[in-house]
Symmetry: C2
Subunit: 682 residues, 2 copies
């Protein structure tokens, strides 16, 4: 930099990076020198408009800077021309043309809308700092010269080195037959799409366009066992252009993960069929986002995929059967970068795919992506991140140490194994309240905002009916049954209450609670309560193991990921003892954290290195081999827990008084169920 | 190394590298430390037998070493086991097991035959030091461990780093679905084929075999416009296993290069058709060498291709039409490394292809390969390397400076444009002598060792007949006509001699020489002589330009490459003034130097870097724009040359006395013919 102490001081926001630069230095150059990422396609020619910044004026006492409008150069002819032809929003400047003339506070907007294109608001509002693996580089290539017989592509490589500092650029073979014509079509001015993900690998020319190509897109996809969600983002603005989701068509081979693994074991063609199915579904989603975003598949240059280990393997065409039993061996766990076409993806022929690393044989790339999104490893607070599916993935840690495990919760939280359970769909009961005195219930169903005791409810649900209880509804009904004394701390439905309420009915040697008595009749029976107890005990025992390793009794924050996490009420989850005691304000549904993590990896290669590094440092705990798992599990069978207090929860509502310590009343199945090894996973 | 001056001194031959090593150091380790390439697949387990060496015993005064049998450790149990099971030739030791116990001179044999496989002798007897881009690495991979959930391939990467020092190995995507099974089939002992060509790129796992895989092959192919030649080599022993050749099927689209370029210009599908044709021909040759060598296509892991610029482009699927006119722009000139499957090659799915760099728009990768083979850039002597085809490729230089050019000789040297000319085939006249007194000719034809005046000649040629004159025959007959005074220094057939011999006959306003007077009658007419004069003047003028740049009058060595170079008699070539004066002993046919250069690049990646570096340093001379070309051309029309003396040639035979300087007798067409730009090339 060679700047002296008398040179102007420039502070970039939001990164906070600062430095002194000689007067006359273009703002873009200053950003580059400080490592502040500012997009630029045209390479400082004031034609692409990607490098917009805003000057913040005023006295910034904290930074000891007085930033003035007059401390940046006035617009020159190039910038004025761009403003005339393409329009520049009020207050925006092109950092390639504007020069530093005094102290400045410069804001790098993360939302620069430079094309007329309509963009929809991001699903989760998250602004992701951009530093994509694919760069669009406008270059002027020397025309061929008989006396300097370097080939067209070789002169392009020289131009990339000279004009963009990109050395040793490799040529993707698909460009060999077409580069010649593209260079001539562009009159030796072309935009090179250069993929440079990892610094240790050489950069690679993956696409080439005549003239200035001022757009490039990427897709980020979360392959869940139930649903596949895909986002289309601009690699240049960072904006999400379109999103789409669909059921995972592998469901026809098996509802849950273990049944799909079994299908592969039983059917020689099963692996290929499931790989083809999920790739076809992804292809349809790509069609959908391309149509919504009005872009061509060929303009998609990068892609990121995440999924649990079985989804990860099936997408890559790898046999998942070793994941079906101990030692749950992944064929490949590290991050992968490969040509998208090698996965059958029909994008730009040079498009790349990045696959996030898996954490362990049952804690996949989706958990890694959720970790990247929520960042326990980036914060001082001790954060618990839980993704509840058929298998729960658990990450617990902070900047000093992060642990991960999975726990075999089984499908009860998803409504399976519950007599009245169903998937979350219109008509399913999702909220339940039980009157503490009368023991009468009221509920809400998916598709209506009305409670069942409110006027108009019958009409509102006439179309769908009330067909069953989904996962969040089951959590609530059982928690309410506990809070209203219908079930004891040990999970036994108290038959004595049958005298007080017709809702409590005998069924063989146990009792049931009638949630809804007609068309169809929906009851919660003792087996249902046991199923939820087993599931939540498995989850809590897993969490508790990680807390033991950290030697902590409480956590500072809890993030509940995935669809289940989005719909359950944290308070009820805590009443049941799914999650440890915590300030309710600090328990948050984090939505599709895996999908957001995938988008982060798409838009910023720094996030790729971050999660790769984090995953190598995450300590993997195998719950199955931990001696204390059994003890934690037994304690967690009680509501909310036999030994752990929930003081912060108790401060928000009245918990039933604790029973004196006693052995389990039912005497049945308090041991974790581990039929034939690990349980099926989400 | 940390060796002290009292440690044993070890000298490796033939490299001459030496160093001191502690007693007990395995010889293989010492070689590795000195950068002496010794093959090893098993990684020091004494099972592959690839690391054989021989101890040279005796007093080596020049090196000040006394090398004794007792200075190497006796055979241990592992080595004895190998010797028992696999046999070890007399005197050979496994360098991974034998340790240094005193001063040694160690010979690294380049011909280690470790498999029972029959190998044929190399076509050109050249031993190529091995350092292939693909290494076979036997590794023991840790079995999966529930508590260390690294994936199978990730543990393989760890093993490659730990056991072979290979860091950052990338996984070829085709292995993702199969690696799992291969690792289990090999009980976690596998042989990894790792491609690591350029040091700047990361190594890449391209194939994986259960257990010890002690073989790996590569192909080297020279795609000529007339013939395609392909060699199959063992990457482990360096031996050529099989060779095959075939006509280039592109001939049906056009006999010479320019007509093929024209075909592409005229036919939209022409480029693809010719690409497909040559790739199909290569595929057939691969079948042939695999059958001869009794190996599978899947065992071929590397491949090298060379060809002139038009062949290079068509093989890569690139439109060659820009090569048809100024500025003769190559689409790509630099060396390329790419997956073989991207070129439609059905080898191992992970096989790589290396394409040598082109030197200029009309001096191709074949000339680069010939340069690599003959190595003007490696020697102090000034060497001229000429590959005569429809276009002559000329390289002239030494270790200090190397120049290259091409010259539009046209097809006369190949027998085209000559009234009695034909391709070199049985029945073609290839040798001619003319009696200085009687002017009677005698000749030999391809397919018989007898001269036409020897008994039995008629019977010997009865089957083929005497059908025409091939390139070398034309050179000889015209040179003999000159030496016997039938044509003058200026190339005029002297009609006055018609009185002396019935062989000289009038034809319109000029004269002809009757080489054979019946069935069919073969004559050399004035136009034929002019065609050869034009061709040889173009070649000589090109050479002369390069000599001017070097400021030299003579060259030390001449290499004549290609089929034409193999058959012409250097003395006659010099009589005609095709090539500059030189000691005849220093003029050599260098055979298929391009094919040998391709094999060198296949077997030793150091040779790849060598030729890449050399090509960037070669100065390209564009004959078309050089002012002195015309003057050199006019002078070179004379036999052997109007201004240049041939003293070393004159010492070997009697040249006709020189005429006084005079203007060209015929007055016709002494300017180089450049119809519509550059002439068609080989």
């Amino acid at each position: 930099m060679n700047a002296s102490a008398s040179d102007p001081l420039v502070l970039f926001m939001p990164s906070g990076k600062r430095g002194r630069f000689a007067k006359g230095t273009p703002v873009l150059d200053a950003a580059r020198q400080l490592g502040v990422y500012v997009e630029s396609v045209c390479g400082g020619r004031a034609t692409c408009g990607r490098c917009q910044i805003e000057v913040q004026t005023g006295r910034f006492a904290k930074h000891n800077i007085t930033s003035l409008d007059t401390n940046i150069s006035p617009k020159g002819p190039k910038e004025e021309r761009f403003e005339r032809v393409r329009t520049l929003p009020e207050g925006r400047r092109l950092s390639c043309s504007a020069t530093i003339e005094g102290d400045l506070v410069v804001d790098v907007p993360q939302d620069a809308i430079v094309n007329a294109q309509t963009v929809r608001k991001d699903a989760d509002d998250r602004l992701i700092e951009r530093n994509p693996a694919v760069h669009m580089c406008f270059v002027e290539v020397e025309p061929p010269d008989m006396e300097k017989p370097l080939g067209d592509l070789d002169r392009l490589r020289v131009a990339l080195a000279d004009q963009w500092g990109m050395h040793g650029v490799q040529i993707d073979p698909w460009l060999l037959p077409i580069a010649q014509q593209v260079l001539r079509d562009g009159a030796w001015q072309v935009t090179a799409a250069v993929h440079h993900d990892c610094e240790r690998a050489l950069p690679r020319l993956i696409a080439l366009y005549p003239g200035l190509k001022n757009e490039a897109y990427g897709i980020a996809c979360d392959i869940g066992s139930t649903t596949v969600a895909l986002h289309l983002s601009s690699l240049l603005s960072g904006r999400t252009i379109a999103s789409a989701g669909a059921s995972n068509p592998q469901i026809r081979f098996g509802e849950d993960l273990m049944s799909r693994v079994s299908y592969v074991m039983m059917n020689p063609e099963g692996r290929a069929a499931m790989t083809d199915a999920v790739r076809a579904a992804i292809s349809k989603l790509i069609d959908e986002v391309c149509e919504k975003g009005e872009i061509e598949r060929r303009d998609i240059l990068d892609s990121v995929f995440v999924g649990n280990p079985v989804m990860h393997h099936l997408f890559l065409g790898i046999d998942p059967t070793p994941l079906g039993g101990a030692p749950f061996a992944l064929a490949v766990s590290g991050a992968l970068t490969l040509p998208a076409r090698d996965l059958g993806l029909d994008l730009n022929p040079g498009a790349r795919t990045y696959i996030l690393p898996c954490i362990a044989g049952h804690v996949g790339a989706d958990a890694a992506a959720a970790t990247l999104c929520e960042g326990p490893h980036r914060q001082e607070e001790m954060m618990l991140l839980v993704d509840v599916g058929t298998n729960a993935e658990i990450v617990l840690g902070n900047a000093r140490r992060t642990l991960a495990a999975s726990s075999p919760t089984g499908p009860a939280f998803e409504g399976a194994e519950i007599s009245c359970g169903q998937r979350a769909a219109p008509g399913a009961i999702e909220r339940v309240r039980i009157d503490r005195q009368t023991l009468e219930p009221r509920f809400r169903v998916i598709g209506s905002e009305l409670w069942s005791d409110e006027p108009g409810f019958a009409e509102a649900v006439a179309r769908t009916g009330v067909t069953g209880v989904c996962g969040s509804g089951i959590i609530e009904v059982i928690a309410e049954m506990y809070l209203s004394g219908i079930i004891t701390e040990d999970g036994v439905i108290d038959g004595a209450l049958a005298e007080r309420s017709p809702r409590i009915v005998a069924e063989n040697r146990t009792f049931s609670y009638v949630l809804k008595d007609q068309g169809p009749r929906l009851t919660i029976n003792q087996t249902d309560v046991r199923a939820i107890q087993l599931a939540k005990a498995a989850l809590y025992a897993g969490i508790k193991l990680l807390m033991d390793k950290h030697q902590i009794d409480t956590v500072d924050r809890i993030g509940l990921a995935g669809a289940f996490g989005s719909f359950i009420d944290p308070q009820y989850a805590m009443v049941l003892g799914l999650i440890p005691d915590c300030d309710l304000d600090a328990v948050k549904a984090v939505g599709n954290a895996a999908g957001t993590g995938a988008r982060m990896a798409l838009l910023n290669r720094g996030h790729r290195r971050e999660i790769e590094d984090t995953v190598t440092r995450i300590e993997k705990i195998e719950t199955a081999v931990e001696a204390k798992f059994q003890e934690h599990f037994v304690n967690a069978m009680a509501l909310p827990n036999k030994v752990d207090a929930f003081p912060r929860l108790a401060a928000t509502l009245t918990l039933p008084p604790r029973q004196a310590d006693q052995s389990d009343a039912s005497g049945a199945s308090t041991a974790p169920r581990r039929r034939g090894g690990r349980r099926n996973r989400r």
